[in-house]
């Protein structure tokens, strides 16, 4: 399949007075056409920052230090501001985490939805509104035309998130980036939104990047998963491989910490000891070593690169950044 987005060695830092925070430290991944990619990791591991780097929507304090972001073979970083603006909304749609604050409170839903359509597709107001109503219908909002005439505060959280999704879909983007689309919603609404995203995927053939910190959320929907830790990708695998044979100690820890419905009732929920590392300094060793039960001497000296996991073929695409073969605890 054709690769639509390729990120190579992306490095993003934040400047804070005199200190520098290394949020993303050389991340590389690719997205194929029609594929759904999950990005998993705990808060502050650089998931969102990597995605914002792609469309150049970083806050003023952040800068992309190095790396290439190839969209359809062209480097987004080398494009002019105008070109990037044409890309946003038109080719790359984004869904944000908090639907309560992601809509302009003083603008009617309809007016906000037609912004992108009128700018990118040069539609007339009537046509744009018609298309917006169709999209609201697609994301499961009843009475779409009535909703177009309402203000965000008149809608519930779940409905606002549906509106956000509809807005991201207005121009049939080739890539849809969903940044924790369910985090701010309660569980039943979460399930509905997840169903909606699956549904959209089957109806349109966009590639989707789904960011989450909840492995349970994406298990049944994505094709491949990238696990991030401390600004690095530590494991990358197809969804089945990742759940059945996780290779990086961090992924193993994450999977163990999902509460299980079956099994012994008295067993405690397992957790990963320690806390995420300080991002102020770029570590010269494996960032997970201080919390890792497999760590060997080498882990404290060198940072491992993301390589095909031991015992896996290159075609499987199962990669991990670890000095230890975690199947037997032996150093590679």
């Amino acid at each position: 399949m054709k690769t639509i987005l390729e990120v190579r060695n992306l490095e993003t830092t934040f400047k804070q007075r005199k200190t520098t925070i290394h949020a993303v430290n050389g991340v590389s991944f690719s997205l194929r056409k029609g594929e759904m990619l999950g990005v998993v990791g705990e808060s502050g591991c650089g998931k969102s920052v990597s995605m914002l780097s792609i469309v150049n929507l970083l806050p003023p304090a952040a800068t992309i230090k190095s790396g290439e972001i190839l969209f359809d073979g062209r480097d987004i970083r080398k494009m002019s501001r105008r070109e990037v603006q044409h890309l946003r909304g038109k080719k790359i749609g984004m869904i944000f985490q908090d639907p309560m604050t992601s809509l302009n409170p003083v603008m009617k839903i309809g007016k906000q939805m037609i912004e992108a359509l009128r700018y990118h597709n040069k539609l007339s107001k009537e046509d744009a509104l018609k298309r917006s109503a169709e999209l609201l219908d697609l994301v499961g909002i009843s009475n779409p035309t009535e909703r177009l005439n309402e203000f965000p505060h008149q809608l519930s959280g779940g409905m606002r998130q549906r509106v956000m999704i509809a807005m991201a879909l207005t121009c049939d983007p080739e890539i849809l980036i969903a940044d924790e689309p369910t985090t701010a919603l309660d569980v039943t609404i979460q399930a509905q939104i997840i169903e909606l995203i699956k549904d959209i995927r089957s109806k349109l053939d966009s590639s989707i990047i789904l960011i989450t910190h909840d492995l349970g959320v994406i298990a049944g929907m994505v094709d491949r998963i990238v696990v991030m830790y401390s600004g690095y990708i530590v494991e990358e695998a197809s969804v089945d491989d990742l759940y059945q044979k996780p290779r990086h100690p961090y992924t193993m820890g994450l999977l163990k910490s999902i509460p299980k419905l079956r099994g012994s009732a008295v067993s405690r929920l397992s957790s990963i000891d320690g806390s995420p590392p300080d991002l102020l300094e770029k570590p010269q060793f494996c960032p997970f070593a201080p919390r890792c039960s497999f760590s060997v001497e080498r882990c404290w000296k060198e940072n491992p690169a993301l390589l095909t996991a031991a015992g896996e073929s290159e075609e499987s695409g199962h990669k991990t950044a670890c000095w230890v073969d975690t199947r037997n605890g032996v150093e590679k």
């Binding site: 929507l57 912004e115 779409p144």
Partner: protein, 330 residues
């Protein structure tokens, strides 16, 4: 209810619906919401009516005054209230009502100019600070603090003492050279000096509010979301930042308008503002104070009007604050 059921049934026919919704009455907007809150507040409505009346009187002053505000009639000095002179006459036999009406004109012209000028300066400075940031922003914040620490009365006295005499001398020589009567109209010197110095003092408030609003709104999620949808920088500014920043700015505008009106009267009262024979409520109060025990109406008329107008601004300001204060929204 019937209407609702009908729309539910026709959702499939989207095209027809959209065309209908375009002409449908708009649902409640936030601005309309705020307006309804304002209308529900009795004090604010009273304030709004008084201020509207004041502006109307100021605009049409020359057409509604019963007498000329300057013509003296020494036979009719210090008259009490009568049909001919509803507020009586002053110690030079001038009609007090006409002078109060012209005083309103002075007050409105001055306070609106002061407020508009301070908002123009404040918006420019505040927006530059918020957008450029860094050292320039730090300098602007420092300048705002510095300017706010200058006592307004002191500044006006200093400007009067230092700038006015040379300016007047210059105008006099211009008049002698050109014989152009423009240079005899010393009233404009007062106006320009008073509102110039007041605008210099009032802009920091506007700058501070506007800088804060832009800084906070620029980082809101909906602005990032709009940028992600491809909205241009100009669109972000005009459709996202400015409409969201309007609430506090409108409240401040009304507050500065009221303050400027009171300050103008205070300065004229102290003799550093608008000078006689041009009527201002301040200098009328000052005149009336000399004879208040003999002819109280000369003091009561301008003082009463000033009190009512000040109260009206205070009521309206409170009402606007309640109407636009987002903390009170659900």
């Amino acid at each position: 209810m019937k209407e609702k059921i009908k729309t539910v049934n026709t959702t499939t026919n989207i095209e027809e619906d959209v065309i209908k919704s375009l002409d449908a009455t708009p649902s409640e907007s936030l601005a309309k919401d705020a307006f309804l809150r304002l209308i529900a507040n009795k004090g604010a409505v009273v304030g709004l009516i008084i201020i509207t009346l004041l502006i109307f009187i100021a605009l049409f002053g020359p057409y509604i005054t019963p007498h000329d505000f300057l013509s003296q009639n020494l036979e009719m000095r210090n008259q009490g209230l009568s049909w001919e002179h509803p507020f009586g006459t002053d110690d030079l036999g001038r009609d007090v009502l006409s002078r109060v009406i012209y005083g309103a004109r002075t007050a409105v012209i001055l306070s609106i100019s002061i407020t508009v000028i301070s908002f123009i300066i404040g918006t420019a400075v505040g927006a530059i600070g918020a957008y450029v940031g860094g050292k320039i922003d730090a300098f602007i914040v420092w300048l705002i603090d510095l300017t706010m620490s200058i006592p307004s009365l002191l500044l006006v006295v200093v400007i009067n003492a230092s700038l006015k005499p040379p300016l007047m001398r210059w105008m006099e020589t211009q008049y002698l050279e050109t014989k152009n009567t423009i240079f005899r109209e010393t009233i404009w010197v007062d106006f320009v000096l008073v509102f110039g110095s007041l605008a210099l003092i009032k802009w920091p408030k506007a700058a501070r509010i506007i800088r804060g609003q832009i800084l906070s709104i620029r980082n809101k999620n909906y602005v990032t979301a709009a940028r992600a949808a491809g909205v241009s920088t100009f669109g972000i500014l005009t459709r996202y930042i400015i409409p969201n920043a309007m609430g506090p700015v409108i409240v401040l505008f009304s507050a500065i308008l009221g303050e400027a009106m009171v300050l103008e009267s205070a300065f004229s009262f102290l003799g550093v503002g608008v000078r006689p024979p041009m009527p201002s409520w301040g200098n009328m109060i000052s005149d009336g104070l000399r004879v208040w025990h003999l002819h109280p109406h000369i003091l009561a008329a301008p003082a009463g009007v000033l009190a009512v107008v000040t109260m009206a601004f205070s009521f309206l300001g409170d009402g606007l604050n309640d109407a636009f204060n987002p903390r009170q929204w659900d």
